[in-house]
Symmetry: C2
Subunit: 80 residues, 2 copies
């Protein structure tokens, strides 16, 4: 079963990488980009066949390793 995990910085956390991307876009001539936030996308191939077992496992993976819950939010989706 294929899963996608999206990890993003919490709203109140500063994102210097995003700011750097925004400035670079500006200097390349892309005007009017108000805000850029950079996060992570983790694609996993899971052995689990049961959807709810996979969801429980993914939740634990995110809390323990894939995201830092102090500064990051996460969400995930399962395919198939």
């Amino acid at each position: 079963m294929k899963a996608r995990v999206y990890v993003t910085l919490k709203e109140e956390v500063l994102d210097p990488q995003g700011d750097a991307v925004r400035r670079s876009l500006g200097s390349l001539g892309f005007e009017g980009v108000d805000r850029v936030r950079v996060g992570k996308l983790v694609e996993l191939e899971l052995g689990a066949v049961d959807r709810s077992a996979a969801e429980t496992e993914l939740q634990a993976m995110c809390e323990k390793l894939l995201a830092n819950p102090v500064i990051e939010d996460f969400r995930f989706e399962l395919e198939g």
Copy 2:
């Protein structure tokens, strides 16, 4: 207009970061994770109001800055 850009390594490109995550998941007791690939998620707030103009702009942003077309694929979606 809000946009999300997903940047992933091409299939044929090795992903040592993804492999490290897979091994770490294994040592945390998550069995049966066959494959992990780590990509980027870039969230942008665009000034453009016209959808097709925004799409053209995003395509150019990805090709010029957000993705490395030699080793990465990208796709994006617009919200609202």
